[in-house]
Symmetry: none
Subunit: 162 residues, 2 copies
DNA sequence: CTCAATCCCACGAAAACCCATTGTGTCCCG
DNA sequence: CGGGACACAATGGGTTTTCGTGGGATTGAG
Protein backbone atom coordinates (compact mmCIF):
# COMPACT_ATOMS: atom_id res chain seq x y z
CA UNK A 1 0.00 0.00 0.00
CA UNK A 2 1.15 3.48 -0.69
CA UNK A 3 -1.14 6.47 -0.31
CA UNK A 4 -0.12 9.19 -2.62
CA UNK A 5 -1.41 12.06 -0.53
CA UNK A 6 0.19 12.43 2.86
CA UNK A 7 -0.61 14.57 5.88
CA UNK A 8 2.19 17.00 6.54
CA UNK A 9 2.84 20.12 8.58
CA UNK A 10 1.62 21.57 11.84
CA UNK A 11 -0.87 24.15 13.09
CA UNK A 12 -2.27 25.41 16.37
CA UNK A 13 -5.97 26.30 16.32
CA UNK A 14 -8.39 27.52 18.95
CA UNK A 15 -11.31 25.53 20.33
CA UNK A 16 -14.09 28.04 20.88
CA UNK A 17 -16.72 28.22 23.59
CA UNK A 18 -19.08 25.98 21.62
CA UNK A 19 -16.41 23.32 21.23
CA UNK A 20 -15.72 24.04 17.56
CA UNK A 21 -12.29 23.77 15.91
CA UNK A 22 -11.10 24.56 12.42
CA UNK A 23 -9.35 21.68 10.73
CA UNK A 24 -6.32 23.32 9.10
CA UNK A 25 -6.88 23.87 5.39
CA UNK A 26 -3.76 21.90 4.38
CA UNK A 27 -5.09 18.80 6.13
CA UNK A 28 -8.54 19.19 4.59
CA UNK A 29 -6.87 19.35 1.22
CA UNK A 30 -5.37 15.91 1.73
CA UNK A 31 -8.66 14.45 2.99
CA UNK A 32 -10.54 15.70 -0.04
CA UNK A 33 -7.90 14.48 -2.45
CA UNK A 34 -7.92 11.00 -0.93
CA UNK A 35 -11.69 10.65 -1.23
CA UNK A 36 -14.50 13.10 -1.60
CA UNK A 37 -15.66 13.01 2.00
CA UNK A 38 -15.73 16.09 4.16
CA UNK A 39 -15.41 14.04 7.30
CA UNK A 40 -12.70 12.98 9.73
CA UNK A 41 -12.42 9.93 11.97
CA UNK A 42 -11.16 10.44 15.52
CA UNK A 43 -9.57 7.84 17.82
CA UNK A 44 -7.48 7.76 20.94
CA UNK A 45 -3.82 7.32 19.99
CA UNK A 46 -2.43 3.93 21.06
CA UNK A 47 0.82 5.23 22.46
CA UNK A 48 0.59 8.97 23.09
CA UNK A 49 -1.84 11.05 25.17
CA UNK A 50 -3.39 12.60 22.10
CA UNK A 51 -5.89 11.84 19.38
CA UNK A 52 -5.25 10.14 16.10
CA UNK A 53 -7.27 11.32 13.11
CA UNK A 54 -7.72 10.37 9.50
CA UNK A 55 -10.19 10.30 6.63
CA UNK A 56 -12.87 7.64 6.01
CA UNK A 57 -10.95 6.27 3.03
CA UNK A 58 -8.02 5.46 5.28
CA UNK A 59 -10.34 3.76 7.79
CA UNK A 60 -11.52 1.42 5.06
CA UNK A 61 -7.95 0.68 4.13
CA UNK A 62 -7.05 -0.10 7.70
CA UNK A 63 -9.97 -2.48 7.92
CA UNK A 64 -8.82 -4.34 4.82
CA UNK A 65 -5.38 -4.66 6.32
CA UNK A 66 -6.81 -6.25 9.48
CA UNK A 67 -8.81 -8.71 7.41
CA UNK A 68 -5.76 -9.85 5.54
CA UNK A 69 -3.84 -10.29 8.75
CA UNK A 70 -6.60 -12.49 10.11
CA UNK A 71 -6.72 -14.73 7.08
CA UNK A 72 -3.03 -15.35 7.32
CA UNK A 73 -3.17 -16.75 10.87
CA UNK A 74 -6.76 -17.83 11.24
CA UNK A 75 -5.83 -21.16 12.81
CA UNK A 76 -4.56 -19.65 16.04
CA UNK A 77 -7.21 -18.84 18.69
CA UNK A 78 -4.99 -16.08 20.00
CA UNK A 79 -5.03 -14.43 16.63
CA UNK A 80 -8.81 -14.57 16.58
CA UNK A 81 -9.04 -12.80 19.91
CA UNK A 82 -6.56 -10.19 18.92
CA UNK A 83 -8.45 -9.56 15.74
CA UNK A 84 -11.66 -9.00 17.67
CA UNK A 85 -9.95 -6.60 20.01
CA UNK A 86 -8.35 -4.65 17.25
CA UNK A 87 -11.53 -4.49 15.30
CA UNK A 88 -13.38 -3.12 18.29
CA UNK A 89 -10.76 -0.46 18.80
CA UNK A 90 -10.69 0.47 15.16
CA UNK A 91 -14.41 0.96 14.85
CA UNK A 92 -16.28 1.11 18.15
CA UNK A 93 -13.75 3.33 19.85
CA UNK A 94 -13.74 5.91 17.08
CA UNK A 95 -16.04 8.73 16.10
CA UNK A 96 -16.68 10.10 12.67
CA UNK A 97 -17.46 13.79 12.47
CA UNK A 98 -18.21 15.95 9.45
CA UNK A 99 -16.79 19.42 9.03
CA UNK A 100 -18.89 22.30 7.76
CA UNK A 101 -18.38 24.61 4.82
CA UNK A 102 -15.90 26.70 6.77
CA UNK A 103 -13.88 23.61 7.70
CA UNK A 104 -14.88 23.32 11.33
CA UNK A 105 -15.89 20.28 13.33
CA UNK A 106 -17.76 20.21 16.58
CA UNK A 107 -15.42 18.38 18.90
CA UNK A 108 -17.20 15.30 20.35
CA UNK A 109 -17.02 15.66 24.16
CA UNK A 110 -15.82 12.10 24.72
CA UNK A 111 -12.91 12.48 22.34
CA UNK A 112 -12.12 15.87 23.72
CA UNK A 113 -11.78 14.31 27.14
CA UNK A 114 -9.83 11.31 25.91
CA UNK A 115 -7.37 13.60 24.19
CA UNK A 116 -7.40 16.04 27.10
CA UNK A 117 -7.86 18.88 24.66
CA UNK A 118 -8.40 22.28 26.24
CA UNK A 119 -8.95 25.48 24.29
CA UNK A 120 -5.97 24.96 21.99
CA UNK A 121 -5.55 22.08 19.57
CA UNK A 122 -2.18 21.30 18.00
CA UNK A 123 -2.44 19.48 14.67
CA UNK A 124 0.53 17.38 13.53
CA UNK A 125 0.69 15.62 10.19
CA UNK A 126 2.23 12.16 10.34
CA UNK A 127 1.86 10.90 6.78
CA UNK A 128 -1.02 8.48 6.61
CA UNK A 129 -2.78 10.05 9.57
CA UNK A 130 -2.51 13.16 11.70
CA UNK A 131 -2.54 13.78 15.43
CA UNK A 132 -4.36 16.29 17.61
CA UNK A 133 -2.62 17.29 20.83
CA UNK A 134 -3.08 19.44 23.84
CA UNK A 135 0.15 21.42 23.28
CA UNK A 136 0.99 21.43 26.99
CA UNK A 137 0.89 17.64 27.13
CA UNK A 138 3.19 17.37 24.15
CA UNK A 139 5.73 19.63 25.80
CA UNK A 140 5.67 17.44 28.91
CA UNK A 141 6.06 14.10 27.14
CA UNK A 142 9.59 12.72 27.41
CA UNK A 143 9.22 10.59 24.29
CA UNK A 144 8.71 13.57 21.99
CA UNK A 145 11.86 14.78 20.16
CA UNK A 146 13.09 18.19 21.25
CA UNK A 147 12.93 19.57 17.72
CA UNK A 148 9.25 18.86 17.63
CA UNK A 149 8.70 20.56 20.95
CA UNK A 150 10.42 23.61 19.47
CA UNK A 151 7.77 23.65 16.81
CA UNK A 152 5.03 23.46 19.41
CA UNK A 153 6.65 26.33 21.31
CA UNK A 154 6.89 28.36 18.13
CA UNK A 155 3.23 27.83 17.36
CA UNK A 156 2.34 28.91 20.89
CA UNK A 157 4.49 32.03 20.61
CA UNK A 158 3.07 32.91 17.23
CA UNK A 159 -0.35 32.98 18.80
CA UNK A 160 0.59 34.58 22.10
CA UNK A 161 2.34 37.53 20.55
CA UNK A 162 -0.65 38.68 18.54
CA UNK B 1 15.84 3.51 -5.25
CA UNK B 2 17.59 5.71 -7.69
CA UNK B 3 16.14 9.05 -8.66
CA UNK B 4 17.06 9.88 -12.17
CA UNK B 5 16.83 13.63 -11.82
CA UNK B 6 19.22 15.23 -9.39
CA UNK B 7 19.43 18.67 -7.84
CA UNK B 8 22.65 20.48 -8.70
CA UNK B 9 24.00 23.97 -8.92
CA UNK B 10 23.83 27.06 -6.77
CA UNK B 11 22.02 30.38 -6.68
CA UNK B 12 21.58 33.34 -4.37
CA UNK B 13 18.12 34.89 -4.32
CA UNK B 14 16.51 37.71 -2.36
CA UNK B 15 13.78 37.30 0.23
CA UNK B 16 11.47 40.28 -0.19
CA UNK B 17 9.53 42.27 2.40
CA UNK B 18 6.57 39.89 2.20
CA UNK B 19 8.81 36.91 2.83
CA UNK B 20 8.74 35.63 -0.74
CA UNK B 21 11.67 33.92 -2.50
CA UNK B 22 12.10 32.67 -6.01
CA UNK B 23 13.05 29.02 -6.23
CA UNK B 24 15.80 28.93 -8.88
CA UNK B 25 14.44 27.73 -12.19
CA UNK B 26 16.98 24.89 -12.48
CA UNK B 27 15.72 23.39 -9.22
CA UNK B 28 12.09 23.76 -10.25
CA UNK B 29 12.93 21.90 -13.42
CA UNK B 30 14.07 18.88 -11.40
CA UNK B 31 11.00 19.01 -9.15
CA UNK B 32 8.64 19.03 -12.09
CA UNK B 33 10.45 16.23 -13.86
CA UNK B 34 10.34 14.02 -10.75
CA UNK B 35 6.61 14.44 -10.32
CA UNK B 36 4.11 16.97 -11.52
CA UNK B 37 3.80 18.86 -8.27
CA UNK B 38 4.66 22.52 -8.04
CA UNK B 39 5.46 22.40 -4.35
CA UNK B 40 8.52 21.93 -2.18
CA UNK B 41 8.92 20.38 1.25
CA UNK B 42 11.04 22.23 3.81
CA UNK B 43 12.73 20.74 6.87
CA UNK B 44 15.44 21.73 9.31
CA UNK B 45 18.71 20.10 8.29
CA UNK B 46 19.86 17.49 10.82
CA UNK B 47 23.48 18.51 10.87
CA UNK B 48 23.91 22.02 9.48
CA UNK B 49 22.30 25.33 10.46
CA UNK B 50 20.32 25.47 7.25
CA UNK B 51 17.19 24.06 5.68
CA UNK B 52 16.81 20.89 3.69
CA UNK B 53 14.35 20.90 0.81
CA UNK B 54 12.93 18.41 -1.63
CA UNK B 55 9.88 17.56 -3.69
CA UNK B 56 6.75 15.71 -2.46
CA UNK B 57 7.66 12.63 -4.50
CA UNK B 58 10.86 12.28 -2.51
CA UNK B 59 8.91 12.68 0.75
CA UNK B 60 6.59 9.84 -0.25
CA UNK B 61 9.58 7.69 -1.07
CA UNK B 62 11.10 8.37 2.31
CA UNK B 63 7.82 7.44 3.94
CA UNK B 64 7.58 4.13 2.09
CA UNK B 65 11.08 3.32 3.31
CA UNK B 66 10.01 3.91 6.92
CA UNK B 67 6.95 1.73 6.48
CA UNK B 68 8.97 -1.19 5.21
CA UNK B 69 11.39 -0.85 8.09
CA UNK B 70 8.53 -1.03 10.56
CA UNK B 71 6.96 -4.15 9.09
CA UNK B 72 10.23 -5.97 9.45
CA UNK B 73 10.46 -5.46 13.21
CA UNK B 74 6.96 -4.63 14.27
CA UNK B 75 7.09 -6.93 17.27
CA UNK B 76 9.54 -4.82 19.25
CA UNK B 77 8.01 -1.99 21.31
CA UNK B 78 11.19 0.02 20.97
CA UNK B 79 10.89 -0.16 17.24
CA UNK B 80 7.31 1.10 17.47
CA UNK B 81 8.32 4.17 19.44
CA UNK B 82 11.20 4.95 17.17
CA UNK B 83 8.89 4.64 14.20
CA UNK B 84 6.48 7.13 15.77
CA UNK B 85 9.26 9.58 16.46
CA UNK B 86 10.68 9.37 12.98
CA UNK B 87 7.29 9.78 11.44
CA UNK B 88 6.65 12.87 13.50
CA UNK B 89 9.95 14.38 12.48
CA UNK B 90 9.48 13.51 8.83
CA UNK B 91 5.98 14.95 8.56
CA UNK B 92 5.05 17.19 11.48
CA UNK B 93 8.41 18.94 11.56
CA UNK B 94 8.27 19.77 7.86
CA UNK B 95 6.19 22.14 5.79
CA UNK B 96 4.95 21.77 2.28
CA UNK B 97 4.67 25.01 0.34
CA UNK B 98 3.47 25.56 -3.21
CA UNK B 99 5.20 27.96 -5.56
CA UNK B 100 3.24 30.23 -7.85
CA UNK B 101 3.40 30.64 -11.59
CA UNK B 102 6.45 32.85 -11.27
CA UNK B 103 8.24 30.22 -9.19
CA UNK B 104 8.06 31.90 -5.81
CA UNK B 105 7.17 30.49 -2.43
CA UNK B 106 6.08 32.36 0.63
CA UNK B 107 8.69 31.44 3.21
CA UNK B 108 6.91 29.99 6.28
CA UNK B 109 7.98 32.05 9.32
CA UNK B 110 8.80 28.98 11.37
CA UNK B 111 11.17 27.58 8.77
CA UNK B 112 12.67 30.95 8.14
CA UNK B 113 13.62 31.16 11.77
CA UNK B 114 14.80 27.57 12.02
CA UNK B 115 17.08 28.15 9.05
CA UNK B 116 18.05 31.62 10.27
CA UNK B 117 17.37 32.98 6.82
CA UNK B 118 17.58 36.76 6.50
CA UNK B 119 16.98 38.64 3.28
CA UNK B 120 19.27 36.45 1.17
CA UNK B 121 18.80 32.75 0.51
CA UNK B 122 21.59 30.60 -0.90
CA UNK B 123 20.38 27.51 -2.75
CA UNK B 124 22.71 24.52 -3.06
CA UNK B 125 21.83 21.38 -5.00
CA UNK B 126 22.90 18.17 -3.23
CA UNK B 127 21.56 15.44 -5.49
CA UNK B 128 18.43 13.93 -4.01
CA UNK B 129 17.66 17.10 -2.07
CA UNK B 130 18.85 20.69 -1.94
CA UNK B 131 19.75 23.07 0.86
CA UNK B 132 18.82 26.64 1.66
CA UNK B 133 21.37 28.66 3.63
CA UNK B 134 21.87 32.03 5.13
CA UNK B 135 25.08 32.74 3.18
CA UNK B 136 26.76 34.35 6.20
CA UNK B 137 26.26 31.22 8.27
CA UNK B 138 27.74 29.05 5.56
CA UNK B 139 30.87 31.20 5.42
CA UNK B 140 31.25 30.92 9.18
CA UNK B 141 30.84 27.16 9.39
CA UNK B 142 34.14 25.37 9.86
CA UNK B 143 32.84 22.12 8.38
CA UNK B 144 32.17 23.65 4.95
CA UNK B 145 34.94 23.11 2.33
CA UNK B 146 36.74 26.26 1.27
CA UNK B 147 35.88 25.70 -2.38
CA UNK B 148 32.21 25.83 -1.56
CA UNK B 149 32.67 29.01 0.42
CA UNK B 150 34.33 30.50 -2.64
CA UNK B 151 31.16 29.83 -4.57
CA UNK B 152 29.13 31.54 -1.89
CA UNK B 153 31.49 34.53 -1.95
CA UNK B 154 31.22 34.68 -5.70
CA UNK B 155 27.45 34.71 -5.57
CA UNK B 156 27.55 37.48 -2.98
CA UNK B 157 29.93 39.58 -5.07
CA UNK B 158 27.87 39.04 -8.17
CA UNK B 159 24.94 40.58 -6.37
CA UNK B 160 26.79 43.26 -4.48
CA UNK B 161 28.48 44.59 -7.58
CA UNK B 162 25.24 45.22 -9.47
C1' DC C 1 -39.77 25.13 26.77
C1' DT C 2 -34.91 24.33 26.91
C1' DC C 3 -30.68 23.07 25.56
C1' DA C 4 -27.67 22.07 22.09
C1' DA C 5 -26.36 21.18 17.38
C1' DT C 6 -26.52 23.27 12.72
C1' DC C 7 -26.62 26.97 9.73
C1' DC C 8 -25.61 31.58 8.30
C1' DC C 9 -23.23 35.80 8.19
C1' DA C 10 -19.32 38.96 9.37
C1' DC C 11 -14.69 40.45 10.09
C1' DG C 12 -9.53 40.98 10.18
C1' DA C 13 -5.36 39.04 8.88
C1' DA C 14 -2.82 36.46 5.92
C1' DA C 15 -2.04 34.12 1.74
C1' DA C 16 -2.66 33.47 -3.16
C1' DC C 17 -3.12 35.70 -7.49
C1' DC C 18 -2.28 38.99 -11.18
C1' DC C 19 0.35 42.35 -13.65
C1' DA C 20 4.33 45.20 -14.52
C1' DT C 21 9.41 46.04 -14.70
C1' DT C 22 14.09 44.93 -15.15
C1' DG C 23 17.99 42.40 -16.42
C1' DT C 24 20.24 38.62 -18.87
C1' DG C 25 21.13 35.31 -22.06
C1' DT C 26 19.93 33.38 -26.71
C1' DC C 27 18.70 33.17 -31.33
C1' DC C 28 18.10 34.85 -35.78
C1' DC C 29 18.73 37.84 -39.46
C1' DG C 30 20.69 41.44 -41.71
C1' DC D 1 30.16 39.85 -36.95
C1' DG D 2 26.91 42.95 -34.81
C1' DG D 3 22.55 44.25 -33.30
C1' DG D 4 18.20 43.87 -32.30
C1' DA D 5 14.05 40.80 -31.16
C1' DC D 6 12.77 37.60 -28.09
C1' DA D 7 12.10 34.52 -24.16
C1' DC D 8 12.52 33.78 -19.58
C1' DA D 9 14.12 34.54 -14.85
C1' DA D 10 13.89 37.32 -10.71
C1' DT D 11 11.64 40.82 -8.21
C1' DG D 12 8.29 44.69 -6.76
C1' DG D 13 3.65 46.13 -5.90
C1' DG D 14 -1.39 46.03 -5.78
C1' DT D 15 -5.76 43.37 -5.56
C1' DT D 16 -8.62 39.53 -4.60
C1' DT D 17 -9.57 35.39 -2.21
C1' DT D 18 -9.21 32.25 1.49
C1' DC D 19 -8.74 31.00 6.35
C1' DG D 20 -9.54 31.06 11.09
C1' DT D 21 -12.66 32.80 14.23
C1' DG D 22 -16.59 35.06 16.63
C1' DG D 23 -21.41 35.79 17.10
C1' DG D 24 -26.16 35.45 16.20
C1' DA D 25 -30.36 33.00 14.21
C1' DT D 26 -32.77 28.62 13.24
C1' DT D 27 -33.92 24.01 13.83
C1' DG D 28 -34.91 19.89 16.25
C1' DA D 29 -35.06 16.59 19.89
C1' DG D 30 -36.12 15.53 24.67
Amino acid sequence: MALEHLFQGSALNAVDAKGRVSIPAFLRGVIERRGDARTIVLAKHEAFPCLSAYDPAYAALKHAKLERLLEKEETSPDAQLEYQQRNLMAFAATEEVPYDSSGRILFPPMMRRKGQIGDLALFLGTGETFQIWNPELLLKDARIPEDLKDIARFRLEERGAS
